[in-house]
């Protein structure tokens, strides 16, 4: 009894320490975003006692690039996620419900492409993009992120579809459901949490992606990641403004994630909890 209570206290403490360690940089940025530039670089940093200001947010929003970048981020993350889903759902469907002896190999091969360091293909892709006029275009980034995230989506959806018991689909077939009815009335409601969490994960990955968006965009197609990075430039470090810009770029995803967290948890633990 005594021991279990002790271990439960220890476990809870450990959880909090870990959670704080993970959240610490985020908290630091959150606080810094309300400080003046001078206070932001002060050492040791002040915790809660400083002159709180919204000045950074005002100047970041006034720079005018925020809304432009936000629009680009939405188009790039939204567009590539939709495209990924449009390709991954049928692919994962086929692999889960009509597997062949090549299915395993294809799945592993798809995953293996994620092991390639992106920088290894940066130069050839950059040159292709330059010649094809895709540099600094939304379409260009959408294409790259689609290719990059497709394997992850296929894997997630494959696992998700595999959880759907085959007998239920056969029961629908015996009951006379057409293939469309089978998908819409039986499969979709069962697979929806998985579809939603896959979409959200892919969307978040695309939203946070910075390697390709930093290298392939300059102004026209620059998303929020490029916008944030621009605050650390040769003219000097603007930690407070950088923090404010970071907070502003995290906010949209945070809101979406918070709104659908129940669906997400269900989807992400779909395979783990029976």
């Amino acid at each position: 009894m005594q021991r279990t209570r002790l271990s439960s206290v220890a476990r809870r403490t450990l959880t909090w320490v870990l959670a704080l360690a993970i959240a610490a940089p985020l908290l630091w940025a959150l606080l810094a975003s309300f400080k003046s530039e001078l206070e932001a670089i002060a050492s040791p940093p002040s915790f809660l006692v400083f002159d709180w200001t919204l000045e950074n947010y005002r100047s970041v929003l006034e720079s005018g690039d925020y809304l432009h970048s936000l629009r680009n981020s939405l188009i790039i993350a939204g567009g590539s996620s939709l495209l990924v889903m449009a390709l991954a759902v049928p692919a994962a469907w086929a692999m889960a419900f009509a597997p062949t002896r090549h299915t395993r190999g294809i799945l592993l091969w798809m995953l293996s492409t994620k092991m390639l360091p992106a920088v290894g293909v940066l130069i050839p892709i950059f040159l292709f993009y330059r010649d094809w006029g895709l540099l600094d275009t939304q379409a260009g980034v959408v294409l790259l992120l689609t290719a990059g995230n497709l394997p992850i989506a296929v894997w997630m959806l494959y696992a998700n579809f595999n959880e759907v018991p085959g007998e239920i689909l056969e029961a629908a077939r015996m009951d006379g459901a057409s293939i469309v009815q089978e998908v819409v009335r039986v499969l979709a409601p069962m697979a929806l949490p998985g579809l939603a969490s896959s979409f959200f994960l892919i969307f978040t990955l695309a939203w946070n992606e910075s390697f390709w968006s930093l290298n392939m965009t300059t102004t026209d197609a620059a998303p929020l990641t490029a916008f944030v990075a621009a605050f650390s430039n040769p003219e000097g470090l603007f930690w407070a403004k950088l923090s404010a810009a970071s907070m502003l770029s995290i906010a949209p995803v945070l809101v979406i994630g918070w709104l659908c967290q129940r669906q997400l948890v269900r989807g992400l633990t779909f395979g783990a909890v029976k």
Binding site: P165, I168, A171, R173, M174, D175, G176, R185, P189, M190
Partner: protein
Amino acid sequence: MSDIVLEGVSKRFADHAASDQIDLVIPDGKFTVLVGPSGCGKTTLLRLIAGLEDVDEGRLLIDGVDMAHTAPVARGLAMVFQSYALYPHMSVRANLGFALMVKRTPKAEIARRVEHVAKMLDLEKLLDRKPAALSGGQRQRVAIGRALVREPKAFLFDEPLSNLDASLRTQMRFEIRRLQQELGITAVYVTHDQGEAMTMADNIVVLRAGRIEQVGAPLEIYRRPVNRFVAGFIGSPQMNFLGGPHAGRYDAATIGIRPEHLTVAADGALPCVVRTIEHLGSEALIHAETGDGSKLIARVSENLQVAVGQNIAFNVDPGCVHRFGADGNVIPEQKSDI
């Protein structure tokens, strides 16, 4: 008339024949049980009939019509799956009415038939629940109800009771059998449990390795198994098999004796040592060992006083001895001619 006829039906998965040249008539209105050890192809056979698998070779006829190009739903069969396969996101009512809904049956008609079936299966109070909120037995009844609503030509059952606990299983055996008899509907029932086959069937089909070993009424198969496999598979406890000089005395490679045909007698032909005794209350099972190490099980009265380690002897009525040749097939009776 809803006879289901299989003519030389074969089905292969990779290089393994799950069904091998099956010829079978499943008579209209009868309860036919496909039984055999796991991997014998009984479920494959059921799925071939259902149309969930395509026949590689041979013909499948329902009401005399070849079903090669008929979709599962158009065959007019309803299936109850081992996992029940209820739609988890639908209420019991929607589960029961699904087949009618996809056929665009008028709403009033769906409601009427769902109510009717719910009443028959005692599901009326559960109609608005989701499957997750039902017990195993209730889910089972919903699965049967879903099949019933369609008013099918025949029922196909794929080990429907294997997920239930023992007492519920016995009760559901009876329920399913009663329902089938009341409706006079053809039923094909797959199980690996020979007890289920014996108690439920009009007709038993014993399968092994994709082939039919024997077809017949339960008692016929029990009393006159055509080979050693069927003799050993049907009946619990298993038939006793003896080889060597015991069998030689009957001009056979092996002889088989049912546990109830061994009687304890002081001057019995089979002297044994008692190894264990299982008390069932109404009767006892004596596990004994002969001098040459053969093991025997005898079904005896609880009134019999025996102790473990005791020497006893069994007598056998020669008329109850099954004689098998070296190939495992039964040797036709011809003693009277000798």
